[in-house]
Symmetry: C2
Subunit: 301 residues, 2 copies
């Protein structure tokens, strides 16, 4: 028999392809659970039961607050939570409360952030930014959040000033899995090839579509290894991104927040440019951001 | 009852996803036929019967020469036809003859072209280049062949001097059909948005991955139409390509050879740069190139 977990509140990160939840007491994590019932596989009427399946055992007799970030707040999600317009603090205002049938639940979904010019949006990363800032008091600089849609975010005095999204991760996945390059790109890694390709991508970003086909041609003509092709594909894409994002990182304090392996790639790509990037784990800052949102909601309601 | 077609020889363009054949007498086309039995759906043992299903009615009592260009000569094709290394004439040497069971067939598969530095390959386009040159005597300049993998080809004195392949078409297809942009990109076209995006893509090619996500953000925040998003996606990608291909087209005589709609896009993107591109139809030049290869093979065997 296991001890029963009595959550004070529940933190939820509801992404496109996954659902993760944590039973919390204050800022302490008591238990975690996850499922693959992300936004992409759910209709609005499915969310409450998907959540209860995962966290039902953590609920007590009273009402338990549930704080949700991510795609559950998208237009195609549970209930649209809109966007707060930058410049603004990353979290704190505009949470929406979807209707729920179970009286033990009180759910708040956090909004994303939007920017008018150039047009941009984020949803979920704002919570990571809030968590990072809560763990790094006084941080003033740039946060890079690598992923499917990598974000570069300028933060000052606790507010998000501006940001820019790059589709680098999604383009990498499409090219390596579904383009003609799938025949040339395989498992493994080649650190030197990555570093060369970053430099090359930064120097001639416009040549990307041609450099990419060269990977195919070199594998046909010169036996380019699948590992080197993978590292070069990644390096060329990240190099082009770094050139475009230069106004963000040049001469700034930079933190890279994301999954360990991807964060290390970005940090190593920035190092030759003289940028010593701090790093932070995405899950840890997500939890810290949800905790901060929970505290703010408790104070204001 | 239809007249029986007696082909002197048969021209075949065997692509990844389709097979097209023409019954020929000299340079005159007597009949055409096509099927979807491209390289992607065939094993080496399937090619002869796929061909006979299409052209069987055109064969007489004797041996009919069949000249094949395209992916049937790839490593995964009917029989590998290798590559001729540039600089060299686009066709004329190195055809391979796959084993056939039917005594009425004499099949020759044309090789592609390869380039060592930067590594590059083509297969099929060399035949279009030969056909274009046979129809445009004395042409000295650059041929652009837009498609899934767009080629820019420098031609002088009847030889291919150098070339460069851009994955622009494949990237457009992946992004518009399979990325997050599929929610924003739809049917229709916006000529002004295309022209603006070409200019933008040429000016800041490094910002491509960010400009792409802006299409999604503008459709969420500002109601960007699906037609404008499609035209901008195309323009951004072609603009970046034109910047990288500038050494090819700047100050050169330029011909665009391809399907009508795509050729017109490239020609209209080049016009503001002062390039008045000639255009030629891809099917017509393919046939002319296969005819030239047939004549060369007849002389040398």
């Amino acid at each position: 028999m296991t001890d029963r977990i009595a959550a004070e509140w529940i933190a939820v990160d509801w992404g496109t392809s996954s659902l993760r939840a944590w039973a919390m007491r204050g800022r302490d994590m008591l238990a975690e659970a996850s499922s693959e019932r992300g936004m992409g596989s759910l209709s609005p009427g499915d969310y409450e039961s998907a959540l209860l399946d995962l966290i039902g055992d953590w609920l007590g007799g009273g009402v338990t607050p549930v704080v949700v970030c991510g795609m559950a707040g998208a237009r195609q999600g549970w209930r649209e939570a809109g966007y707060a317009a930058v410049p603004c603090p990353p979290v704190g205002q505009g949470a929406v409360r979807p209707d729920v049938s179970d009286p033990r639940l009180s759910v708040a979904i956090l909004p994303g952030l939007s920017q008018t010019q150039p047009a941009d949006v984020m949803r979920g990363e704002e919570t990571q930014i809030a968590g990072f800032l809560s763990q790094t008091p006084g941080f003033d600089g740039v946060i890079c959040l690598p992923g499917t849609h990598t974000k570069w975010v300028h933060v000052s005095a606790g507010e998000v000033i501006s940001f820019r999204t790059f589709m680098t991760g999604e383009i990498f996945a499409l090219l390596s899995n579904q383009s003609v390059l799938r025949h040339s790109v395989g498992d493994g890694w080649d650190e030197a090839a990555f570093a060369d390709a970053v430099r090359d991508g930064m120097a001639r970003p416009e040549a990307l579509a041609a450099r990419l086909f060269s990977l195919r041609a070199e594998s046909l003509l010169a036996g380019l290894s699948a590992a080197s092709a993978r590292a070069r594909l990644s390096g060329l894409l990240i190099g082009a991104e770094l050139t475009a994002a230069r106004p963000y990182w040049l001469g700034q304090r930079v933190a890279v927040v994301g999954a360990g392996s991807l964060s290390r790639l970005y940090a190593s790509a920035l190092a030759p440019e003289g940028v010593v990037a701090e790093t932070a784990d995405a899950t840890r800052v997500t939890l810290a951001g949800l905790a901060q949102a929970y505290e703010t909601l408790r104070e204001t309601t």
